[in-house]
Every structure is written in structure tokens, then in C-alpha cells.
């Protein structure tokens, strides 16, 4: 049976199994599965998926639920955590919550499970107000996730709360299924004047194929600050479709950094919607891939209100037969005067067989705005290589240092020092060098 049919036919069983009887949810899920049934998986015929084909991965015989409760030892997965800093942790194994690895809280803020939030009465008001409110119900993969939405991280921060500890959200796949598809669903609500830092990661623990179709909704209320970091350093048998939707109210600042180093096919759909003035949105990413890896960044910033800013900066280094895609759409509505939208996308190709498809898309309907975009595609600067080699730095190290330098604009804006160090280490590791210093 094809995956699409398998998913549709599993839907009833899924709803029965989770039994979170709630008519509103049932209606949301039912209409979502119908939309998925109508649209199916996206194909390259759609403009938005022109450069990314899911065909090959959809041929896997994915299980749509893990059969068993699986456990992993902390020692086995310790390296995937931020160990040098105290954090809240919401951890999942094969799509199921792991209380053993997690460190949740209800003390002044809620850092807990979507499955509780969707079922317990005390969360109902928040769920009614925010759940599935900005996720694009037209999008087939988002609909698929909504239909099977049940588990994930639920974070609700009341007003005027600076959350001191970063929150780590990690999804582990153990490989107990020959192939597994999961549908994680996260909801983050950041109250007025509040501040939170979140790190999200998806990690396979062995080489059995994985397809993760994740949806995250983030709501930043007035003057809220949210910094969200995505570490994509998975095995090359893992595939990730990340759909992140962000709604910002007046004076809020939200940043999303996406670090894509691993995985087979990774698609990041990142959408920002503005609802208020003086909003600041930051979208940054570093992609370093090789072999036959594929990373597609599809970003949208919808400027709907005046006096807002958005800053995009994506750096890509491609080696081997890898493919990168950057499709950055900035939409400035007629009312959004004095918008300041900036977009930059720099790409380095290390191999003749690597490909980048870069497509900035600016649609501007207001007449008093500042929008700029720049896109470069090049190789490593030979003069810079010679300069460093002349100072005694070997070719491999010089190359690595140049790549470090190339990505530094993005790494430098990571606000958690321990995370910045970790990312510097991952990059050094990826480039096969020990630089002896952190950026």
C-alpha cells in the first residue's frame, strides 16, 4: 500500500487509540486528513516544490506509529544535549514522550507535553486560542501533521517572565521500526514582555530510514522575545520536513536559526506573520552538506503592518553531489509602510557536482519601504587560501578556517554561548579539523 493510503486508512485507528475525545479537535483533524487526502504529498510540479522531490523517500514502507515503547540510556544520547548549561527538556523517543530523559515544569510556566495540553481541561483555553491557528490548513503536509497531531512539546510562558533556562526539545528515533514516519507537533506561546530560548533537534540513533513531518506554531505576544534554534545534524538516512509558523504581535522579536549539517532530505518551511507595528524577525541559517544530501530552505516573511523589520541571512556550503535550495519570499502588503526587509544568501560550491538553486522573491505592494536582497554563488577565495597557507596554515585547515569565517555572521548571533560552542564544534567536526579555538 502506498504511504498516502496507509496514512489515510490509519487515521480512524489513530483517533480511537489516542481517545482524547474532544469534538473541536476531532473536527480539526478530520478536515485536515480530508485536505491531505485531496492534495496528497507535494510533487515537483508544484512551484514550491520544484527543486525537492519526495518520491524516493516515499517508497520506503514507513510505519506510521511505533509499535513499542522504546527506551534509550542517557549515556547513549548525552552528546545530543546541551550539557554545559541547565535546561528544561522535552524529549521523545520514536514519537513518544520519555519522562526519564525529560525535565519539564509547571512552576511559573508550562514546559510539558502536547498530549496533555490537548486533553486536560486546564489547557483548553490556550489550545482553543492558539492550536492550529497559524499553521497553514491549506498545505498538505501541515494538514497531514494536524490530522495526526497528538504528541510534541507544549510551552506556555505567562507575561513578564524571563525564562532563565533554555528549553531543549529533542526527538530521538531508535530504529526499532524498519522505517518510521512521525508527526511531531509543537506549540509555543510567549507572553507579553517574556523571553525564551528554545533548541530543537531531531536525531536518529541508527540507520533505519526516518521521515519526520514536524509542525511548530510559535506565538509571540507584545514585546515578547523568542530565540529558536534548530540543529539538523541527523544521520543520512533521516528525512525531515519542518513546518514552522510564527505569529508576532507589536514590538516582539523572534529569531530562528537553522543549522543544517546532516540528514538525507531536509525541507524547512519557515513562515513569519506580522500582527502589529515595530516587529523584528530574524531568519538565519547555515547549511554545510556533502554526498547526496539535500537541504531546502523555503522562507516567507509576510509584512502586513507598518514599521517592521526582517533580517534574513543564509549561508550554504555544498560539497560532493549535494543540492541546496534557498527560496526566500518577502511579501510587503500595501499597509506595511516603512518596512525594512533585508535578505542575504551566500553560497559556496566546493565541488563541480554540487548544485544550488537560489530564488529570492520580493513582492512589494507598499511604496515607502526599504527592501534589499543579495545572493552570491562562488568558490573559496584562492587569494585567501594562498594568504593563509603562506602563514603556515595547511590547505585543509585553511579551507576550514575560510568556511568558519564564511559562516561566522550567523554563528555569532547565537545567544546561548554553550550552543554557539557546540555548533562551532559540529562545524569543525564536519570539516574534519580541530581549530583549537571557538568562534
Amino acid at each position: 500500500m502506498e504511504l498516502k493510503e496507509k496514512l489515510i486508512s490509519s487515521f480512524m485507528a489513530f483517533e480511537e487509540k489516542i481517545a482524547d475525545v474532544n469534538n473541536d479537535l476531532h473536527d480539526i483533524r478530520t478536515s485536515a486528513i480530508k485536505n491531505f487526502e485531496n492534495k496528497g504529498f507535494p510533487t515537483k510540479k508544484e512551484e514550491a516544490w520544484k527543486y525537492t522531490s519526495l518520491n524516493a523517500i516515499l517508497k520506503n514502507d514507513f510505519s506510521v506509529f511505533a509499535k513499542n515503547e522504546n527506551t534509550v540510556e542517557f549515556a547513549e544520547v548525552k552528546k545530543y544535549f546541551l550539557n554545559d548549561v541547565d535546561t528544561y527538556k522535552v524529549i521523545f523517543i520514536d514519537g513518544k514522550f520519555s519522562s526519564y530523559l525529560s525535565s519539564t515544569t509547571h512552576d511559573g510556566l508550562d514546559v510539558c507535553l502536547m498530549s496533555s495540553a490537548l486533553t486536560k481541561p486546564k489547557y483548553k483555553m490556550v489550545i482553543d486560542e492558539y492550536f492550529n491557528k497559524i499553521a497553514n490548513s491549506d498545505d498538505s503536509l501541515t494538514s497531514l501533521n494536524t490530522a495526526f497531531s497528538h504528541e510534541g512539546a507544549y510551552v506556555n510562558i505567562p507575561k513578564s517572565k524571563v525564562v532563565e533556562k533554555p528549553i531543549e526539545i529533542i526527538y530521538f528515533s531508535t530504529g526499532s521500526e524498519a522505517a518510521l514516519m512521525t508527526q511531531p507537533r509543537n506549540l509555543i506561546v510567549v507572553g507579553e514582555n517574556s523571553h525564551v530560548q528554545i533548541v530543537e533537534r531531531h536525531q536518529s540513533l541508527n540507520n533505519n530510514p526516518v521521515l519526520t513531518n514536524s509542525v511548530t506554531e510559535i506565538f509571540a505576544k507584545k514585546r515578547a522575545i523568542a530565540d529558536y534554534y534548530k540543529i539538523q545534524n541527523d544521520l543520512q538516512t533521516a528525512n525531515l520536513i519542518d513546518n514552522t509558523y510564527i505569529s508576532q504581535k507589536q514590538d516582539s522579536h523572534v529569531s530562528v536559526h537553522t543549522f543544517s549539517f546532516g540528514g538525507n532530505i531536509t525541507r524547512n518551511n519557515l513562515n513569519f506573520y506580522h500582527q502589529g507595528e515595530h516587529i523584528d524577525s530574524t531568519l538565519k541559517g547555515i547549511t554545510i552538506i556533502g554526498d547526496k544530501q539535500h537541504v531546502d530552505h523555503y522562507t516567507l516573511v509576510q509584512h502586513a503592518t507598518p514599521n517592521c523589520e526582517s533580517h534574513q541571512n543564509y549561508k550554504t556550503i555544498l560539497d560532493g553531489n549535494s543540492t541546496g535550495v534557498f527560496n526566500g519570499k518577502i511579501f510587503v502588503e500595501k499597509e506595511a509602510q516603512k518596512t525594512d526587509a533585508f535578505q542575504q544568501n551566500n553560497n559556496i560550491l566546493l565541488s563541480d557536482k554540487a548544485t544550488i538553486n537560489a530564488k529570492p522573491q520580493l513582492e512589494i505592494f507598499a511604496d515607502d519601504v526599504k527592501c534589499s536582497h543579495g545572493c552570491t554563488i562562488g568558490q573559496l577565495d584562492e587569494n585567501a587560501m594562498f594568504y593563509m597557507q603562506q602563514r603556515g596554515i595547511g590547505k585543509k585547515e585553511a579551507k576550514a578556517l575560510l568556511m568558519y569565517a564564511f559562516t561566522s555572521e550567523v554563528t555569532n548571533s547565537v545567544k546561548i554561548p554553550e550552543l554557539r560552542a557546540k555548533i562551532a564544534r559540529i562545524i569543525a567536526d564536519k570539516l574534519g579539523v580541530n581549530m583549537g579555538f571557538d568562534l
Binding site: 577565495d381 587569494n383 594562498f386 603562506q390 602563514r391 603556515g392 596554515i393 585547515e397 555572521e409 583549537g436
Partner: protein, 249 residues
């Protein structure tokens, strides 16, 4: 120290050096002068190992060893330093981190341990004072947004840190105001000793007022056409390069 014999080199099939012979002994300062396009910068790049040039004939011998097949970093490990005419900007890597990496990579290549951190700091302080460099300068990204003078001063700072046997200064005076020129020249003179050698590549005589050469060579159309002592530089300044051209005819 350095012995160049019948060196021919080309880039993209265009012959630029047409048989260079040059002998530099330890403790000496040599200057190579010549008009634009004579091949001065090509010669310095080739000694340092720039792979964009093809050496078709001849030898470059450093302390008895032919280095013409070695990679640029291997020549650096053996003590060749080139102060670039146009130092490259490397955003995201500080001056301090860059020089630390350079020193430790050279030490590693020679089978030595990394330089202890306190020793490194002391050396950085000492050498940056010699070049009258501001401390803030050291934490800035390498050459990024530096003025012409700052870039050259930073080159000589790196030279001071690396203590090369053979230092090649390629048009180090270009872009320098008179104060910076004095500081840079003073730095070079302080580093000069019996065991190392300096090769100054310059279009103008100005720098040679401060770094006084033992020998001056005139490079024209890929060949050294005349050699002499420091007075040759003054003569060139006065009479221009056409004088030599005429003399050759």
C-alpha cells in the same frame, strides 16, 4: 640563505620571469626595484609558492634545499614569509586567533608542541607594542575594514610573531603614510639580525630611506638587468627607469 637560479615562470602561458638569478646571504637586505609589470610581485609570489604560477625552469634553493616543488605552507614552515601587497580580509577570525593558529600550525609541522597560552600572550603583547598597535586591534576580524596602513602594520606584526628566516616585503610602502612607514620600517629593522634576510620589493625609493639595502637589483621585463648598492636606488629615483632602458640599448 636563498639562491635563485635561472628562474622562468609563466601564468596562463604568458612568460613573466625570463631567467632570474639572485643570491641572498644571511644578514643581508636586498631590494628589487622596477617599473610596473616588470614581474616584481610575480617573483615574490613564486618564492612563496603561489600555485597560480607555473615554474617552467630553474631552481629556488633555501638553505641548500630546493623548495620549488613545496606547498606554500611547507615553505612557510621552513621560514619563508611574504608580506602581501594586498592582505586578504578574513571576517570572523580575529587577528589574535589567526596568528595563534599560524604559529601552532608551524610548530606542529616541525614536530613541536603548541605554544603555551601565557607565552603566546606575552609574545603578542611584545610584538604588538613594537608595531605600536592598539590592543583593540588584536580582537578585530583579520584585515576587515582595516585601513591600508593598518593592513601593512598587521603584516609586519605577523612577521614579527613568526620570526621568518627570509622575509619578502612586497610593496609594503604602498598605502602607508609617513608615520606608519616609520613604524613599519622600524619594526623590520628591529627584527633584522645576522641569521635572517630581507627582500624588499618596491617601486619607489622611499621605503629604502628607512630600510637600507645592502644590494639593489633592477628587474625589467622578467630579468634582473642591473645590480648595485644602495646608491643605485637613489640614482633610479632621480633618473627614472628609462635611463636603464637606454643604457641597455
Amino acid at each position: 640563505m636563498l639562491s635563485i637560479k635561472n628562474l622562468h615562470a609563466s601564468v596562463e602561458d604568458k612568460e613573466i620571469l625570463k631567467g632570474i638569478n639572485l643570491e641572498i646571504k644571511a644578514g643581508e637586505v636586498h631590494a628589487i626595484m622596477g617599473p610596473n609589470g616588470a614581474g616584481k610581485s610575480t617573483l615574490s609570489s613564486i618564492i612563496a609558492g603561489n600555485e597560480n604560477y607555473e615554474v617552467s625552469e630553474g631552481e629556488i634553493i633555501l638553505e641548500g634545499e630546493d623548495i620549488s616543488e613545496l606547498a606554500p605552507e611547507e615553505r612557510a614552515h621552513k621560514g619563508v614569509f611574504l608580506s602581501f601587497q594586498y592582505p586578504v580580509e578574513i571576517p570572523g577570525v580575529s587577528v589574535t586567533n589567526f596568528i595563534k593558529t599560524a604559529i601552532n600550525e608551524s610548530r606542529k609541522a616541525r614536530g613541536e608542541e603548541d605554544m603555551p597560552a601565557n607565552e603566546m600572550l606575552k609574545l603578542i603583547r611584545e610584538k604588538s607594542e613594537l608595531l605600536e598597535m592598539d590592543r583593540k586591534f588584536l580582537s578585530r576580524s583579520l584585515n576587515e575594514g582595516f585601513s591600508g596602513g593598518e593592513k601593512k602594520r598587521n603584516e609586519i606584526f605577523q612577521m614579527a610573531m613568526l620570526e621568518p628566516k627570509l622575509a619578502i616585503l612586497d610593496e609594503t610602502d604602498s598605502g602607508l603614510d609617513i608615520d606608519a612607514l616609520r613604524i613599519v620600517a622600524n619594526g623590520v629593522n628591529k627584527l633584522k639580525n645576522e641569521k635572517n634576510a630581507v627582500l624588499v620589493i618596491t617601486h619607489y625609493q622611499r621605503l629604502l630611506d628607512y630600510i637600507v639595502p645592502d644590494f639593489v637589483h633592477v628587474l625589467m621585463d622578467g630579468k634582473i638587468v642591473k645590480s648595485g648598492d644602495a646608491s643605485l636606488a637613489l640614482e633610479l629615483e632621480e633618473k627614472g627607469y628609462d635611463w636603464i632602458k637606454n643604457e641597455l640599448v
